[in-house]
């Protein structure tokens, strides 16, 4: 796969530099470490800090979710590789306004180890850190085993809710509770058609036969839960809905937030075709997709594929979801439009 690169090993650094130069109103480097990024807006004293992060290759995640009403800082790792603890600690210091700090990131062995090591150091500095692992990926493991699930595109909803709670100056306990609540209400399932190519190799990480699709892919271009025969968009969505609806127990009268996310190379025309069927299926349950997000939110480099996230809304979550925010990956004005 052809790419716009200089030295492939510089891809992450150069990309980050490009982002920092492009969006100075949103993000800035934390101290000297360019791999730790904080919001350009100064957070108010007493606000609970929110630190997010993970590997690179998920643009606009995670940098795009740093800003007012979102995260205070993000730690940036190599492609598909957790950032190390020192950067996370730098982020933590930048985010800390004396009211404690939330760590929110996807549930992966690497991230957990690095963030835990960072949390230990932050604790040693007297910062109260609470960790919320996103576990929205419903493709794997039984519902009882929720904690072992991966964090995928649904993380964006969790960032959004938590960011809003922090922005409203809620206390640490409440912010933590709301982040957990958002994660508990959020379910994702992805389907990959072609694997992603990392900058260093510019070659798909694995092979999906022409007639096949990979069901249950995550956001690291990795294989998913099952290889199946490729099918129509509607049947693919049905496959996803069957799982998500039962997982989240979607019932008549429910309101959900919906996120149809490109994994990178699937264009928006197809995301809308997916959305069309989703609306049909949700309506058939007498439920409604109350808030809709479609586009590039948490990608897997240039993977051909898409994921669908549904978050069950109650009044509390909805209010926080609608709270204004300003990251370059997600901007919500006070009232986005006529509603």
């Amino acid at each position: 796969v052809k790419k716009f690169l200089n030295s492939p090993r510089d891809a992450v650094s150069e990309s980050l530099e490009g982002a920092l130069r492009t969006y100075p109103h949103f993000i800035q480097a934390t101290g000297h470490s360019k791999r730790a990024v904080q919001a350009s807006a100064t957070p108010p004293k007493g606000k609970v800090g929110l630190v997010i992060g993970g590997g690179s290759g998920h643009d606009p995640a995670f940098l795009g979710y740093v800003g007012r009403g979102l995260a205070d800082a993000a730690a940036v790792g190599n492609v598909f590789a957790s950032p190390p603890p020192d950067r996370i600690v730098n982020c933590t210091r930048a985010a800390c306004q004396g009211a404690g700090v939330l760590y929110i990131y996807g549930n992966y062995t690497g991230d957990t180890m690095n963030f835990d090591m960072a949390a230990e150091r932050a604790n040693a500095e007297g910062i109260d850190v609470r960790t919320i692992l996103t576990t929205d990926d419903a493709a794997f493991s039984a519902a009882e085993d929720r904690e072992s699930r991966r964090g995928t595109a649904g993380s964006v909803f969790v960032f959004k809710i938590a960011g809003a709670a922090c922005d409203r100056l809620y206390g640490l306990d409440d912010c933590e509770r709301l982040a957990r609540k958002a994660n508990d209400a959020t379910f994702t399932m992805g389907i990959g058609l072609e694997a992603a190519s990392l900058p260093e190799t510019s070659r798909p990480t694995f092979h999906i036969a022409p007639g096949d699709m990979e069901v249950g892919v995550g956001i690291h271009g990795e294989p998913g839960a099952a290889r199946e025969e490729i099918t129509t968009a509607d049947l693919a969505v049905d496959r996803i809905c069957d799982r998500l609806f039962s997982e989240m127990d979607l019932v008549s009268g429910d309101r959900v937030a919906m996120l149809v996310n490109s994994l990178g190379a699937t264009p928006m025309m197809e995301l809308f075709i997916i959305a069309r069927r989703l609306h049909e299926r949700i309506e058939a349950r007498n439920a409604v997709a109350w808030r809709n997000f479609i586009g590039y939110y948490c990608t897997s480099l240039d993977m051909v594929g898409a994921s669908v996230t549904l978050m069950k809304l109650d009044d509390e979550l909805l209010e926080l979801l609608d709270h204004p925010c300003a990251g370059f990956g997600l901007q919500l004005p006070a009232y986005p439009c006529d509603q």
């Binding site: 790792g77 694995f206 990795e222």
Partner: protein
């Protein structure tokens, strides 16, 4: 008798860096099959940072324990990922075992491997058969110890460690992953060697090579 001194450690890091650089692409490919395709990058970059540390001279210490502590930090802060905390903890545990004291003797290299292994296990909480790098690390120490106990030279014992690690890595192909990214694939992980076990066996090869290249080892 030769010692596991800072010079030995430096040679070990450089040897491992060279071998991992060579296998960078292959390890990425292996990781792509059941994981996310970055393993070669993380390992090669991590040991390249260690090689730069001992070569470039940003390290000034000659005390092995102190050097390993610096190495742990260096590895971790360059790599992150899953292998960063694991190898960093391994290096750290070794550093602590060595303390500020004099270098261990060459014949004590199984203890060095044991410390690395213990750190990796402590951090990652994986067990034998979980299809991780531990499946290469775990058998290396007892193999070397047994060989030394049979009266073998350090070089001969090192070769036994290498064989055991390589065999351990090969054996991961038939295991079901239960730790790390590949654990989600369940049965689908069968048939592929664990990339972390393969790279561990390369690191151990480098250690063995370093021992062999020490004249007094024979």
């Amino acid at each position: 008798m030769a010692e596991l001194d800072s010079d030995f450690i430096a040679r070990f890091f450089c040897e491992a860096a060279a071998r991992l650089e060579e296998q960078r692409d292959e390890l990425c490919q292996l990781d792509g099959l059941v994981g996310d395709g970055d393993h070669g990058t993380s390992m090669a970059n991590g040991f390249a940072a260690l090689a730069a540390l001992v070569r470039g001279g940003s390290s000034h210490t000659k005390i092995p324990g102190a050097l390993l502590r610096e190495a742990a930090d260096e590895f971790l802060s360059h790599v992150g990922a899953t292998v960063g905390p694991l190898y960093a903890t391994g290096l750290l545990d070794t550093s602590e075992a060595m303390g500020e004291g004099a270098p261990w003797e060459l014949n004590e290299f199984p203890r060095l491997m044991a410390c690395l292994t213990q750190g990796i296990a402590r951090r990652g909480k994986a067990a034998e058969g979980d299809k991780t790098m531990l499946d290469a690390w775990l058998p290396a120490t007892p193999a070397a110890e047994a060989s030394l106990a049979r009266g073998a030279s350090a070089a001969e014992a090192a070769l036994c460690a290498r064989e055991a690690a390589a065999e351990g890595a090969r054996a991961t192909a038939s295991m079901i992953a239960s730790r790390g990214r590949a654990a989600r694939l369940k049965e689908r992980s069968i048939g592929y060697q664990d990339p972390g076990a393969v790279s561990a066996s390369i690191v151990i090869e480098a250690l063995v090579e370093t021992i062999e290249a020490t004249p007094e080892a024979r």
